[in-house]
């Protein structure tokens, strides 16, 4: 490779990862809509094991987190680390390996879930061969990312890179520890942990997968793309750094709040609850930082439909990061746990925060990657309102279902007997599940619009070659 071509950013890989991300969004959300239909019409599994709720549900969650989410994070991480380090990607072939190997893991892992291979650990259902493959690809992802930062020609490491870096390091730690297991066969293993320890390790992993992947990773996306979008620097850089360290310190303790009223020691649960409440401070610091950054760039909304997604994602980020700590209070948790409120909470984050900020970023990024205008601003605006309507409908339906369930299965009569049977309660939930199905279809419909819009924007075009700009000597690494 000549010296000249070394000075070009590697953007083809970014575009390819975005294409994979959109594909997995469609596939995994379609699986979600299908299983929500199964909760209304249980016979929709047609007696096929691979179509059953128990197998399609992990396909839905893994497809969204690993397929849609991580592909989007890899794409935006690779894009932004080059721009903020002023160098092309380190080891671009390794980056391509990460891109395709990851998609292969998601594809084969998804098929293994349909075949019934599962560890039964939430968000970590994939069996040991996939766990090893994930660890290898993840380390490669880290080598590319940190190698690029190590090669940087600009002295400061921008805040988005701290979040992406935390994502890579912490997820590696969580994944490897939680996946420690003794294989019994190619498709079955047994966890190295047992009983309450297994539960604590699992939710240390599970909650921090939400924390460092679905929150921290996407905050990296926010901190790079929101200022680019708004054409303004971040409102308070100092606040963003304080929020990062407070977030990193407090999140890692919060996992056991998933285990209230279990055999886990009470001090562990209390600590988790206190840390969950403390977590509100860095979460909202970031939200305020984002809102204040965009507040002075209102004129951009006239021409940029993508910015609406990011603005609204901040509102849902505020909701989800308030709702979570509130649900960690034992007096709320005793009613809300094991109800559909939890599902609503997860989706206020996943649809309102993760999906919306990713959609906003894709609408911003894809036209720039191929040097073309977005095919249809009108379709993007329609998508925005569909995404908002779908998310709101979903949350309200699950709030209604959750509160009803919580009240019904804790209701006792005068002599302390349970007033209602579990079966009766669940059969009365059908109307809420029908509403949720409609909400999911609206949201999925919007995602299809985006896929079509981006396809027409990209069709027949190659990525634009972008040369690495010179660094101001005042902030260069040799300064």
């Amino acid at each position: 490779m000549s010296n000249e071509s070394n000075k070009l950013y590697h953007d083809q890989i970014v575009l390819r990862l975005i294409q994979f991300s959109v594909f997995w969004a469609l596939a995994a959300m379609a699986a979600g809509v299908y299983i929500s239909a199964e909760l209304v019409w249980p016979t929709l599994d047609f007696g096929q094991f691979w179509l059953s709720f128990g197998r399609l549900r992990p396909l839905h969650t893994n497809g969204i987190i690993f397929g849609f989410g991580i592909s989007a994070l890899m794409a935006t991480g690779f894009y932004s680390v080059q721009r903020t380090s002023h160098v092309p990607l380190f080891a671009p072939r390794l980056a391509w390996f990460c891109c395709y190997a990851w998609q292969l893991i998601v594809l084969l892992g998804g098929l293994s879930l349909l075949a019934g291979w599962t560890t039964s650990k939430e968000y970590a259902e994939l069996e040991w061969p996939f766990d090893i493959a994930i660890a290898i690809v993840w380390v490669c992802f880290g080598i590319v990312f940190f190698g690029t930062i190590a090669n940087r020609t600009i002295r400061p490491i921008y805040i988005s890179n701290w979040f992406y870096g935390a994502l890579i390091i912490v997820i590696a730690m969580l994944h490897i520890v939680n996946s420690l297991a003794i294989p019994a066969s190619i498709g079955k293993s047994y966890s190295l942990f047992a009983g309450a320890q297994d539960a604590v390790v699992q939710w240390w992993y599970g909650h921090n997968a939400v924390g460092f992947l679905l929150t921290g990773g996407f905050l990296g996306m926010l901190y790079y793309f929101l200022p680019k979008h708004a054409g303004r620097p971040i409102w308070s850089y100092r606040l963003s750094v304080v929020a990062f360290w407070a977030f990193t310190y407090s999140y890692i303790w919060a996992g056991p709040h998933h285990l209230h009223y279990s055999s886990v020691p009470e001090w562990v649960l209390s600590l988790a609850m206190v840390m969950s409440v403390i977590l509100l401070a860095p979460s909202w610091a970031t939200m305020i930082n984002g809102i204040m950054t965009v507040s002075s760039a209102s004129e951009k909304l006239k021409t940029d439909p993508a910015l609406k997604f990011i603005v609204l994602s901040l509102a849902f980020y505020g909701l989800a990061t308030f709702e979570g700590p509130m649900m960690s209070f034992p007096s709320v948790n005793v009613v809300s746990h094991f109800t559909d409120w939890t599902i609503g909470h997860v989706h206020s984050g996943a649809l309102g925060w993760n999906a919306m900020i990713t959609y906003g970023t894709f609408y911003y990024l894809v036209p720039r990657l191929v040097g073309n205008e977005l095919y249809s601003t009108r379709l993007a605006n329609i998508h925005f309102w569909m995404a908002l309507a779908g998310t709101m409908l979903y949350i309200v339906a699950m709030w209604g279902a959750g509160v009803s369930q919580g009240l019904l299965w804790l209701s006792v009569d005068e002599i302390g007997e349970l007033s209602f049977s579990f079966k009766d309660i669940m059969s009365s939930m059908t109307p809420y599940y029908a509403l949720r199905l409609i909400a999911g279809m609206i949201f999925l419909g919007g995602t299809f619009l985006m896929a079509y819009n981006l396809y027409k924007t990209v069709a027949g075009r190659a990525t634009v070659e972008v040369r690495v700009p010179d660094v101001d000597p005042a902030v260069g690494v040799t300064a």
Binding site: F322, S411, P431, L435
Partner: protein
């Protein structure tokens, strides 16, 4: 002018909301005037309907038997409902005024109280559904009224506060964030009260 705006807000804002926003943009009513001559009448509706509906029919949560509460508990719950709504209106109005300086909007508190009341008016009227206290029926009615309220917020805020629609969109989205948090807080507080023994008899 002030008398006109109060009577307009009370009687016509429901079916002429855009005209109400426009009139509001041309006046600076006092916060207490708006509260006592307009908002308070709407705030009374949901707890009153809830009290009447639950006392006569009991809340239907989906199971066969409705949840019947004692008269004393119902009065307590309805009084709490009113206090929470009042707190919600005032806190949202104050937060809206706090946000206004960021978006170069009017900071007259009376305008913010009136704006939030007009936005919440469909929900207050929609609380007629509480007369038939079935949770799912109430949700079915709340969803379209909530959509209408959000439409009023996004459309009416820039008119009432005299800012561009783009700045209005940003400020309305920030308020949506606050309102979502307020809504989920209401759920959380309710659950805490239930587990403390206020309301339905729970085995906790």
């Amino acid at each position: 002018m002030s008398t006109n705006i109060y009577s307009f807000l009370l009687f016509k804002s429901l079916y002429q909301p855009m005209e109400a926003f426009r009139q509001l943009s041309e006046s600076e009513p006092s916060p207490s005037g708006v509260l006592f001559r307009y908002s308070i009448w709407l705030l009374i509706l949901p707890p009153a309907f809830s009290l009447i509906g639950a006392a006569n029919f009991g809340w239907r949560l989906g199971a066969a038997e409705p949840l019947m509460l004692s008269r004393q508990a119902l009065i307590l719950v309805s009084a709490g409902y009113f206090v929470v709504l009042l707190f919600g209106l005032l806190s949202t109005s104050i937060i809206s005024r706090w946000m206004a300086s960021t978006y170069d909007a009017s900071t007259a508190l009376g305008r913010h109280v009136a704006l939030i009341t007009i936005v919440g008016e469909p929900l207050a009227v929609g609380s007629l559904a509480h007369l038939f206290p079935d949770v799912f029926v109430n949700i079915l009615i709340i969803i379209p009224t909530m959509i209408w309220s959000m439409y009023l917020l996004y459309k009416g805020l820039p008119i009432a506060l005299g800012i561009t629609s783009e700045k209005g969109m940003l400020m309305a989205s920030s308020l949506v964030g606050w309102l979502l948090v307020a809504a989920v807080s209401l759920l959380g507080i309710s659950m805490m009260l239930w587990t403390l023994g206020v309301g339905p008899l729970l085995g906790v």
